[in-house]
């Protein structure tokens, strides 16, 4: 059966641009390149469109972060999310039902208050809510888990598969070839310029190569002599059976290292992380995380103890030391572009892809993505973003620990 958006043509020997990885970054970048008039674009993927983290993430979308770099990039993305169904002519089920970053301690709440002030300076509409205001909006929350929250009303969530399918179809309409089941083995470089890629079928030459290979991005960059400081991590999610609506906004809970939402159909979808990241390169779901998710989500929403889990899965991401993505040109190799190291990649894709395509076509790094360059680690200027829901922030009360 043909996969929608995947080409039936054989892989040619030359293209104007090759994108490695048919996740949302790769497909969106290919779509934006084609939109800017790049004629022959191929997207190569070892599995199928959205088979990696793009089809396994938590679907949450916000731009209410705490650093200039993140707010600028992700707010540009949020604006695109609001128009994405229209743009792609495919309903990606973007649901602007609000996004709560939940503080469960006074310390987290103080940080939320500081974040709201920063966000106001960048023109973001966010509100600081106290405990009562949060419980008024989400009565299902456990009051013990709530001190306050940041609410971004214009944010929310979308359907991650739909976003991938939408970009794949829109790209295909513009002539982009998406090739599934073709593994890129390496990136070839001649005289400081990218020459193409070697694949499981045959070599392909292209003057432009975009590395959007998700978990494989670090290895592939290495084949071109570009060393990226990337770490692999396994994240896990679960989804419950469909129940009557009890949760409108998307919620990220700092104390639980968790994020979740309820879809329009009624399924509760969410994931949590452990204080120590899991570097196992495996797509197997673990019982350890299944139990962690169940305990933390029942702590946040006590009613959930009556809901059944439908599915539980794992996905792999690569992350950098400052947890910010690497987007832009590859140092030392002309024509080689990077979009990898994403932790909030689903949110960031629409804007990052557009501005990376601008960069490819204009030959000049677009200012929105400029801070996310690959050299910032070596040159000692990491991005300081403090409002991410990641293990480094584990502290204070959480769901009670159970001895095992």
């Amino acid at each position: 059966m043909p996969i929608p958006g995947v080409t039936a043509r054989p892989l040619a020997r030359t293209y104007d641009a090759v994108v490695i990885g048919a996740g949302i970054q790769g497909l969106a970048t290919a779509y934006e390149l084609a939109k800017r008039g790049v004629r022959r674009v191929a997207v190569l993927d070892s599995s199928w469109p959205g088979g990696g983290a793009s089809g396994r993430n938590g679907e949450l979308i916000r731009s209410a972060f705490s650093s200039a770099e993140w707010i600028t990039l992700f707010d540009a993305s949020l604006k695109r999310w609001h128009q994405l169904s229209r743009e792609l002519d495919f309903n990606v089920l973007f649901n602007p039902s609000g996004y709560l970053v939940l503080a469960s301690t006074e310390e987290q709440y103080a940080r939320c208050r500081a974040d709201v002030e920063v966000q106001a300076r960048f023109g973001l509409r966010t509100e600081l809510l106290d405990q009562q205001a949060v419980l008024d909006r989400v009565p299902a929350l456990n009051p013990d888990a709530v001190v306050g929250a940041v609410l971004q009303p214009a944010a929310g969530f979308a359907h991650h598969d739909a976003a991938v399918w939408g970009y794949a179809r829109a790209a295909a309409r513009l002539g982009v070839e998406v090739h599934a089941g073709i593994e890129v083995l390496g990136v070839t470089v001649r005289g400081g310029r990218v020459a193409g890629v070697t694949t499981s079928t045959h070599d392909v030459s292209a003057p432009v190569v975009v590395n959007a290979a998700g978990a494989a991005a670090g290895r592939l960059a290495g084949t071109a002599g570009v060393e990226l400081p990337l770490d692999m991590a396994r994240l896990e999610m679960l989804v419950t059976e469909s129940v009557a609506p009890f949760l409108r906004p998307a919620v990220a809970a700092l104390a639980a290292l968790g994020y979740c939402h309820q879809t329009s159909r009624g399924e509760f979808v969410g994931g949590t992380e452990l204080a120590v990241p899991d570097h196992t390169p495996s797509l197997n779901g673990t019982y350890r995380l299944l139990r962690d998710m169940a305990q933390k989500f029942v702590w946040l929403f006590p009613q959930l103890s009556a809901a059944r889990v439908l599915r539980h899965w794992a996905g792999l991401i690569t992350q950098t030391a400052d947890l910010s993505p690497i987007v832009g040109t590859a140092p030392g190799v002309d024509g080689f572009y990077l979009s990898c190291g994403w932790v909030y990649g689903f949110v960031g894709a629409p804007a990052a892809a557009a501005h990376l395509a601008d960069t490819v076509c204009d030959g000049r790094l677009h200012p929105t993505i400029a801070p996310f360059d690959a050299l910032r680690f070596a040159e000692g200027r990491p991005i300081r973003e403090g409002s991410l829901v990641v293990p480094a922030q584990s502290e204070g009360p959480g769901p009670r620990e159970v001895a095992s």
């Binding site: 609001h82 128009q83 169904s85 229209r86 792609l88 002519d89 495919f90 309903n91 990606v92 089920l93 973007f94 649901n95 602007p96 299902a140 456990n142 359907h159 739909a162 399918w165 939408g166 059976e241 469909s242 129940v243 009557a244 609506p245 009890f246 879809t263 329009s264 159909r265 009624g266 495996s282 197997n284 673990t286 019982y287 350890r288 299944l290 139990r291 029942v298 006590p302 009613q303 959930l304 103890s305 009556a306 809901a307 059944r308 159970v402 095992s404």
Partner: protein
């Protein structure tokens, strides 16, 4: 109408089991009292009471009723004591239970939302990605309406009444998942060979398919009808000091060696050396239009209703067969004193044994060879079945129950999950397996290994139990990371 169905469906006497002397149990269903018998399931008690529609389908609100009798199909999910989505066909009745149906507006019986089925052609699979793509705001409004319909009636109980289970961890040498014919046998044999056994079972009564098996089965030097043998094996298990019976559902066997069991009073984390998968088989449904209509039941569910629940689901039956199991099932129905109109046999005329065909003919049951079910009829439950006969005619059979005896599919979820985790060796064939490597071992037996005869499943279980006990000494215990 309901009282007429009710008066017929109750089975005060059974040709083999005699008079039903189980005490009455009263529970509440949507504001009225229903009288059931002790040991019955909620779903069967409601069927006996004349309730045909138990729920509505997710998208088009088509009526759905008692179908698989095994808690596997989702057509009987009810809210029981405030807990949503409880599979009522495997939930025992208890005095004072509060039971209500989910979905449907204003009620499941009279559901105006069933109109969705009439316009289903405008809502094909994936419609949500095509509609409103140019009008996101209208799309959000529509989604919120759909959301109310989708979760429909499945309200989570208030936080205070939701239980949080404690966690209990224990190591043991052998875990047997499933206490049907092969699981009971495996647990007894493994314990006999010296293993420390945990036997995991979801359902109230042990024995699985043995409970509805009319033929005699031999085990432990005893030959008896299935239900009698189930009693004997259950009693042996209860007396065996080497076997711990754990009520609950095995969730999987994970990479750090934990096999969690969601029990009634705790979440048990077992860390076994050897696992015996004795989870039996599923009955696969057969595809035809309206195969989801109340009154279309799987053959195993009908056997279970007659022999275990003591409920007659209908008066006039059409049996859809794909092998000899269907023919034997038709003969069994005839023996139980109900009318069998025809056997719609998907095989050609020469594929069914002549002896069995003679048995059908002797009972006045028509055998339609090479025939296929086309469509069921009836608004709220089955009133007839249109079939295409082997010579191409369309025939409409009048009936109130369609019994679907489709192929049996191994229930192999546990071993597939484990294989996907990629760290054990698997075999459906337990004898002769090389157990010298010190790796975790999972043995698949009985129905989950493709055995369709109950006697084979029992024999298989005894073999596997002995093999498991032998393997324990060779397998290194997991060391959690």
């Amino acid at each position: 109408m309901r009282w007429r169905r009710r008066s017929f469906r109750a089975m005060p006497t059974h040709p083999d089991l005699g008079a039903d002397e189980r005490p009455a149990v009263r529970f509440r269903f949507e504001g009225r009292e229903v009288v059931a018998r002790e040991g019955q399931s909620v779903g069967a008690a409601l069927l006996a009471d004349g309730v045909d529609i138990l729920t509505r389908s997710f998208k088009f609100h088509r009526p759905r009723g008692y179908t698989c009798g095994a808690g596997a199909c989702g057509n009987c999910l009810l809210t029981v004591d405030g807990l949503p989505s409880v599979p009522s066909c495997v939930t025992p009745v208890a005095p004072g239970l509060e039971v209500r149906r989910e979905r449907g507006w204003p009620s499941v019986d009279v559901d105006v939302l069933a109109g969705a089925d009439l316009v289903s052609r405008w809502f094909p699979a994936g419609f949500q990605f095509r509609y409103f793509r140019q009008h996101p705001r209208a799309g959000h409004a529509f989604e919120r309406v759909l959301g109310l319909l989708a979760g429909g009636g499945k309200h989570l109980p208030p936080a205070a009444s939701a239980p949080v289970l404690p966690i209990a961890r224990r190591t043991c040498s052998v875990v047997v998942v499933g206490a049907g014919p092969s699981g009971l046998a495996a647990a007894l044999a493994a314990s006999d060979a010296g293993a420390d056994v945990v036997l995991v079972e979801e359902q109230e009564r042990l024995g699985g398919r043995l409970r509805a098996e009319t033929a005699t089965v031999s085990a432990l030097g005893l030959t008896a009808p299935g239900p009698r043998l189930a009693e004997v094996l259950t009693e042996r298990v209860a007396r065996d000091p080497g076997i711990t019976l754990l009520r609950g559902s095995a969730l999987g066997w994970y990479e750090d060696g934990v096999l969690p069991v969601a029990g009634r009073d705790a979440l048990h984390e077992l860390v076994p050396h050897v696992v015996v998968e004795a989870t039996g088989s599923y009955e696969a449904p057969v595809l035809f239009a309206g195969n989801d209509r109340p009154g279309v039941l799987l053959a195993g569910a009908i056997s279970r209703l007659f022999h275990v629940e003591r409920v007659r689901p209908g008066r006039r039956y059409v049996v859809v067969a794909c092998d000899d199991r269907g023919i034997e099932h038709a003969i069994e129905l005839h023996h139980l004193g109900v009318e069998v109109v025809a056997v719609v046999d998907q095989r050609g005329a020469d594929e069914a044994g002549t002896e069995r065909l003679r048995a059908l003919a002797g009972r006045g049951i028509e055998h339609l060879a090479g025939a296929r079910p086309v469509r069921s009829h009836g608004r709220r439950r089955v009133r007839g079945l249109t079939v295409r006969t082997g010579d191409g005619r369309r025939l409409r059979l009048r009936c109130d129950t369609v019994s679907v005896a489709g192929p049996l599919r191994p229930s192999e979820g546990l071993s597939l999950q484990r294989r996907y985790q990629g760290e054990n060796r698997l075999s459906a064939e337990t004898p002769g397996q090389d157990l010298s490597a010190r790796a975790p071992v999972l043995l698949r037996v009985g129905g989950s290994a493709g055995r369709t005869r109950v006697q084979d499943a029992v024999d298989d279980g005894f073999d596997a139990g002995r093999t498991a006990a032998t393997a324990v000494g060779n397998v290194a215990p997991f060391r959690p990371a």
